[in-house]
């Protein structure tokens, strides 16, 4: 479970990005965050695993406070998988090495054990035959699936997705979304920043609309799409749903 309590974030002394965000994400839920660029969606996501150090408020992940000095942040992060818009695969390593790096270095698994597990996950995301290739030799959709596999290899309790399909060609979006839909249906706790409203309709338990660093509207899939209450949400939905 993720509890976000009154979180505010600044970049530099004057530039405030998040304004007192309050949100609770229950175990097994999929929450979609959407909103215009610069609204603070990605920043909020990065606060959850402490990649962004917010200045006030508190985030508690499975009972552990993220920015508490007593918290082992590396251990906490190893239980939270993260997938990025631009994949961020390590270009000097094969797909397999990308996936096994953290299990070997952080979880101290043996190489053979980590590789066995990595192959199982690659099987699950549908690209076991790409294991020995470097990221540059893979398509965008394949790279993103390797990135998802890399996160899953740590057997995380939570998965964070930061616009996972925004950098993909249209014909590759589906292969990535399919993997994410499977994960959501298997009961993974997921926080997904995305504009894929089809995905949101299908699996989101809750949709959060952000603008200018604040949560403007939230609701379950049906209510959010059919009766958006806020004018700003309505305009945004009109624009992205065409």
């Amino acid at each position: 479970m993720i509890e976000i309590k009154n979180v505010s974030l600044w970049y530099g002394p004057r530039h405030q990005v998040l304004y007192g965000i309050d949100e609770t994400i229950a175990k097994g839920q999929t929450v979609v965050i959407c909103g215009p660029s610069g609204s603070g969606k990605s920043s909020l996501l990065r606060c959850i695993n402490g990649l962004s150090r917010f200045q006030s408020g508190e985030i508690i992940v499975d009972g552990v406070s993220v920015l508490d000095p007593a918290t082992n942040i590396h251990k906490l992060r190893s239980n939270i998988g993260m997938v990025f818009q631009h994949f961020e695969l390590y270009p000097h390593m094969t797909a397999l090495d990308n996936i096994t790096l953290a299990p070997i270095r952080v979880r101290k698994k043996s190489k053979s054990e980590a590789e066995k597990k990595a192959m199982e996950i690659l099987e699950r995301v549908g690209i076991p035959e790409q294991a020995r290739k470097h990221p540059a030799a893979l398509s965008g959709g394949q790279q993103q699936r390797v990135a998802i596999a890399r996160a899953l290899a740590m057997e995380p309790a939570i998965m964070l997705f930061d616009e996972p399909t925004s950098a993909l060609d249209p014909e590759m979006i589906k292969e990535v979304l399919d993997v994410m839909i499977d994960l959501a249906r298997e009961g993974m706790t997921m926080v997904v920043v995305t504009h894929e409203m089809g995905f949101a309709r299908k699996v989101a338990h809750k949709i959060i609309f952000m603008d200018n660093g604040r949560v403007v509207e939230k609701g379950d899939g049906q209510a959010f799409f059919e009766h958006p209450e806020n004018e700003r949400t309505r305009r945004f939905l009109n624009r992205i749903l065409i």
Partner: protein, 218 residues
């Protein structure tokens, strides 16, 4: 042209070449090591690391190398009261001076790797050092190889400046032979050829190294 002057004095000049190599190798190794620490300090968010490193780099990059050598050889003994032998003075000057240049190359190499890579590594639970060792440095190293090799070649050439405090390295010995034999054309063309050969070898090595590092990815 009387090339026999080269063969007659070959052993003497070759001895200088060995000294040149000793100076160059120790200076490159030491400069690189100190440069790595300076670069890390300069990338640090901690002011007590950042400011001294930045000051150091600007200071040494703003001085001619020959002045640093003079300072170390003539000034430091005055301050400490202990004389420094020529070889030590030269090596310490080279290391101190070249480290500033290496540091900037390394800093730029590290900064050329996108912050997304660091974030991905941290998100997986890696520590600062694991991230540096397995994710950032292998990539940064490849990006900085050409600049590092160029700088190493420059150091190799700069070692000739050690003659100002009386070290008889390669070029100084060629110079001494010329004083005795008065064969400037042959001797200085020969010296040029030797420098050219070793520096070109460095350039070829650099390209090999890059190809080798690049083979699989990018």
């Amino acid at each position: 042209m009387d090339l026999s002057v080269i063969f007659r004095n070959f052993d003497f000049m070759f001895g200088g070449l060995i000294l040149t190599f000793q100076l160059a190798v120790i200076s490159i190794a030491g400069g690189l090591l100190l440069g790595i620490f300076l670069a890390l300090a300069r990338l640090s968010a901690r002011p007590w690391l950042y400011y001294p490193a930045t000051l150091y780099i600007h200071f040494f990059r703003g001085l001619p190398l020959i002045l640093v050598i003079f300072w170390l050889y003539f000034l430091v003994p005055v301050v400490t009261g202990k004389a420094m032998d020529e070889f030590t003075a030269a090596v310490v000057s080279f290391i101190a001076f070249e480290a500033a240049y290496f540091a900037e190359i390394i800093r730029a190499g590290i900064q050329s790797i996108s912050t997304g890579q660091t974030m991905a590594a941290y998100a997986g639970g890696l520590t600062f050092f694991q991230c540096a060792r397995h994710v950032i440095l292998p990539q940064a190293l490849r990006n900085m190889t050409p600049a590092l090799v160029t700088q190493a070649v420059v150091i190799f050439q700069d070692t000739s400046l050690a003659y100002v405090i009386g070290l008889r390295e390669f070029l100084r010995r060629v110079n001494l032979v010329d004083a005795r034999e008065a064969r400037s054309v042959e001797l200085y063309l020969f010296a040029g050829l030797i420098y050219f050969l070793f520096c070109s070898a460095g350039a070829v090595l650099s390209r090999r190294l890059e190809n080798c590092l690049q083979r699989d990815w990018a």
